[in-house]
Subunit: 409 residues, 2 copies
Amino acid sequence: MTAARDWEPAYARRAEGMKASEIRELLKLLEQPGIISFAGGIPDPALFPAQAASTAYAEALASEGDAATALQYSVSEGYGPLREWIAHDMASRGVQASPENIIITAGSQQALDFLGKLLLTPGDTALVTAPTYLGALQAFSAYEPRYDTIRPDQTNRTPDSYSQAAQKAATGARVKLAYAVPDFANPTGETLSRSARTTLLDLAGNLDIPVIEDTAYHALRFEGPHIAALQAIDVALCGAVDKSRVVYLGTFSKTVAPGLRIGWICASRALVRRLVLIKQASDLNVSVINQRVMHQLVSDGRHAELIARARAHYRPKRDAMLAALKAHMPSGVNWTKPEGGFFIWLKLPTGVSGASLLKRAIDEAKVAFVPGAAFFHDGSGENSIRLSYSLPNTSEITTGVRRLTSLLR
Amino acid sequence: MTAARDWEPAYARRAEGMKASEIRELLKLLEQPGIISFAGGIPDPALFPAQAASTAYAEALASEGDAATALQYSVSEGYGPLREWIAHDMASRGVQASPENIIITAGSQQALDFLGKLLLTPGDTALVTAPTYLGALQAFSAYEPRYDTIRPDQTNRTPDSYSQAAQKAATGARVKLAYAVPDFANPTGETLSRSARTTLLDLAGNLDIPVIEDTAYHALRFEGPHIAALQAIDVALCGAVDKSRVVYLGTFSKTVAPGLRIGWICASRALVRRLVLIKQASDLNVSVINQRVMHQLVSDGRHAELIARARAHYRPKRDAMLAALKAHMPSGVNWTKPEGGFFIWLKLPTGVSGASLLKRAIDEAKVAFVPGAAFFHDGSGENSIRLSYSLPNTSEITTGVRRLTSLLR
């Protein structure tokens, strides 16, 4: 019997940069009995509007005419009424937008893939924070960029130093984009201050590059003053979203449900027209029935209600995790105090590895989390971990943190 | 007031190869009153199982436990029971497969994008028929390939001539894949004979390249003997799908409904594992609720019933179009006689352009179709057009063809 076909020689060069996601592999752990999981940025299904969704699916298929469009192919830019709703809602985020500034995507993950595809030639530089959202690194890496690190809170590099580093990497290579999660970032839970946002926009202006603003957790603020979106700040300066360098990524995955796979991009209509071509070539359109259902679930003030419920639901979970960390964590461990979102970021004592702690945590403490190194483009961050409080209840959070701290004593 | 931001300098090199789809633009014409459309490979919504879908959505959300998984994130490879059903169904297509050979995609369009991403380094050659499915050219072109033409029905090139042409194109460039739609092809409606399939597999064997088999219309055979799938022929020779060079693309878009955006790839599990990484980085997973609903709609023999209904529905439409063409079309025009699927391909008299005929057809005859040139990678095919009979009823087909022929007299 001959062996299975060896596919490796068939792959494109870019396949070298494609890695398995530790987060996605960890999702499988959620099914093990007895594990308390602080892994995965997963919303609590207790919040899913299941009854409303059921009604909306029934309505979308109620008449023959409805079903004929809900189950058919459709335009790549997305369902008109949903694009209108989002354009209108962007005003509450400080951005005056029209439906032509909006394209519907299969979650923000697809938006990241499309922007990598549109902006990155192999060898070009993407500026990211370190740590940053792992899924952004995965999406961009398919387009073979080089990464460089931005620190909007403590600028220590000149625009020229970024340009020069990019040019050294490959002939004709340039800095092509900056990516940031300004509010309650994945993985740190930290929020960029107003001045850090201005610093980031100034840097992007000096380099004349787009800024990709990922707002996945933006709506989930538990306390503290709202800080304007990067796109809102930029539009206030340049006068219109069509003139802005900021590409705003929104999603319903954290406030409604991720299972419908619906997010959006708000940007200059010139850019949106290009992204529509990419959507056509990539998967034609987002499921129309899901877009119609999402429109039902969020319109007439219902998104605001879902957001209010989610804030009230996640805040005590964050409080429980911060309280348990304060009560039980030995000295030498530091952690962030997020004002919203799903995540707390821990720096372990020097020499303690997040990856080896995870092995012990699963075996000895029945607790899961994500080792920090996964979120760094440069392989650093070995002695950090990400804890998510979104899924377990407060009593599990308290128990899980106590079990975890016992490994560090 | 300053102008809108110029985004052109920001784009990657690959953006040069991205073009708008004439087909997708033509979808907008469907909404004009009075137009009889032979454009778009769109299934007839009269066949959509709307009532069954409505029941299935309600069931997927019936209990709290069901809703908690149906509306949540999930694994990138797809919903287990659907992968099992497909693996089992592949046996009826002549391929013994296990669920590990299957990944669920957002329609076959996403499968094409993923395979371009995994296999094509810029400058590599993709072998395609001329004409071929426009969406495949759009998907592959994002990865900057060179194209070369295969003619499985009339081999006139040696494997060496393909290799040499590929090597001339760029340093290190190789022939990396062959793509074909063997049954009732989009756009010609033609089917590859058994011997043409063997010829294609021999060529691929000599070049040692993967063959991407797009079976979008495969189930819709109205008459004539079944011809084994490329993957079935190859597996019979090599012994197992894990040893096969054929990558089988299936979809429910033509037999159930395109609005759920569900297709699949059946291939060697080594390849599937790579594709799962690409799915993770591209959009995480296909909407779980849609996968559950699709599983309900096709299992327990229901897919076979839907296929039988679709065949009975489309056959008289094809008959009506062929009869009208025979009755009214002036000499000098030739067309294919498909045994299934959605399409008939017309060769216009020399000097008559499909694109300029379309303008006249819309204005003077209120008929739409797709000019043939869109389906050629090399810009040829100017004097051909594609007619689809899937959407209009038989009386509209007869009227539409009569109106069209009046322009050619």
